[in-house]
Amino acid sequence: MSDLSVTIAGVRLPNPVMPASGTYDYSERHDNFFSPAELGAVVNKTIFLNHKPGNKPPRVYEAPCGMLNAIGIPTAGVKDFIENTLPLMRGYGVPVIVSIAGNTSEEFCKLAEIITETGKADMLELNLSCPNLNEGVEWARDKKLLYDIVKLISESTTLPVIAKLSPMVTDIAEMGLIAEEAGASALAVFNTYRGMVIDINTMKPVLGNIAGGLSGPAIHPLAVYSVYSTYKRVSIPIIGMGGIASWKDAVEFILAGATAVAVGMYNFVNPMIMIEVIEGMSRYLHEKGISNIRDIVGKAHR
């Protein structure tokens, strides 16, 4: 058996596979599929400090080899999260990554502090790049906003901070470098692309929020290249994500320079996909005679 474990910011993950935030809930609906205890880490749907209802429907729509979503991060707020979701996540015995967001730096920081104080999170993922928040700040699309928010939160928490970047920038590698300089311990590359579909019969946008984030296999090669180019510039670990539909797609991310990977929309298509990715990676390493997955991180560069 090859060793699938990886380390991000001093936190050991038993394997490099986790859900992308917002694509997997910790509920009994998954009981017949697999236990989250088999994952490399558990990640929640991003929370805000206070309750938010989410966007008006329709919220999802199929696109060629992918989907658009404009969910708008419905959240019950941090109090409900700490009472109901966080203990469940902690209970699986694998690292807990808590995904947070804020509409102001004060709100963002306060949320980071509250989660840190629970002592139940291993890392914080800063969702700096949700494309669906009409009143929200797209932190990851502006160099100064990105630097300032990552620096502020990194200095106000003892937890390692993962900065989730947006693909909608001129040079994502540079944004990664800025996040690193501001104190991020890791990068999540990347969030969805904003897109839209128009219904030619009603002559109106299909989504209630007009535009939505594009995810799925359609964006996989774009994400692989973003990981590849970011890996060249930064020295912190990268979590690669975007369109993983099989273990092969995940291995590409590792070879491009990702230390770990997140599976997103394909969880909706195949509820067993994350386990299939872990098993497929393990078989691949065995067949290639590679004893340790860490040996192939960024291998496509050499």
């Binding site: 917002g22 694509t23 997997y24 809930d25 509920s27 009994e28 609906r29 998954h30 009981d31 017949n32 599929f33 749907k45 209802p53 989410g54 966007n55 008006k56 429907p57 329709p58 919220r59 999802v60 729509y61 199929e62 060629p64 080899c65 992918g66 989907m67 979503n69 969910i71 419905p74 799925g216 296999p217 539909a245 929309m265 969880n267 909706f268 298509v269 195949n270 509820p271 067993m272």
Partner: protein
Amino acid sequence: MHQTVTGKPPIFQAAQIVKIEKRHREYIYMALDSPYIALNALPGQFVMIKLPDADDLILPRPFDIVTADSAKGEIELVIKITGKGTHRLSHKKPGELLLLTGPLGRGITDFTGDSSIGLLVRGVGAAAVVLLANRAKEKGIKVVTFLSASTKERLVCREYLEPLSHTVFIATDDGTEGYRGNAWEMLDSFLDKTALDQIYTCGSRRFARHIKKLDSEGKTRGFVFLEGFMACGMGDCHGCAVKKAKEEGYFLVCQDGPVFPVGVVEIKS
């Protein structure tokens, strides 16, 4: 009583098509081999189906469980051909496999204290209530069905509903079968003489609004089967939101429904 429960957790499987036929060009009547879902399906629940060989049609789609025969280990579905996916599905042959997740949604479990239920359904919306009619009949509850369509050939699931119903009233817009006009007019005249403890509706927003009116007037207790664009069918994607009528926020069709007391959800005009 109307009570819904989450039921047994879903499974994900490659299920074999046992039987598949096209009727009236527009509808697929299909049986799938799925002992687990056949055993555990509750009225109101649905399955997600994805074509295994179609990554260009990437998301699975929700379909009502029409019958669930635990002895045979089979479920039946009735699907209207509306787009690329259902069109491709209509060309499948017995023996071929489909990716199937289910049972999903909250199922109706309790009819205690009820002696009669009404079903007001239109088009392929009739597929949603067959299992409900079946389980209600098993419990000795009188089922009265009001089946509606634009034209005779779109009277879907009639062959399932007739043996399960005390009476089936039929209405078509063009008068090719039964009453020519709105099915709810037949319902209203029926209710003038005979009470129905509960009425379930599916397939028409106009029907849903009518049932909402009857419900608010205290003439019956109304329930509506809703649909919504959904990606996963089990609460992960938060896509299938439907606005709450009495407070701020949304229900999820897959997690809180698909059957709702008609008063708690917003029915769009």
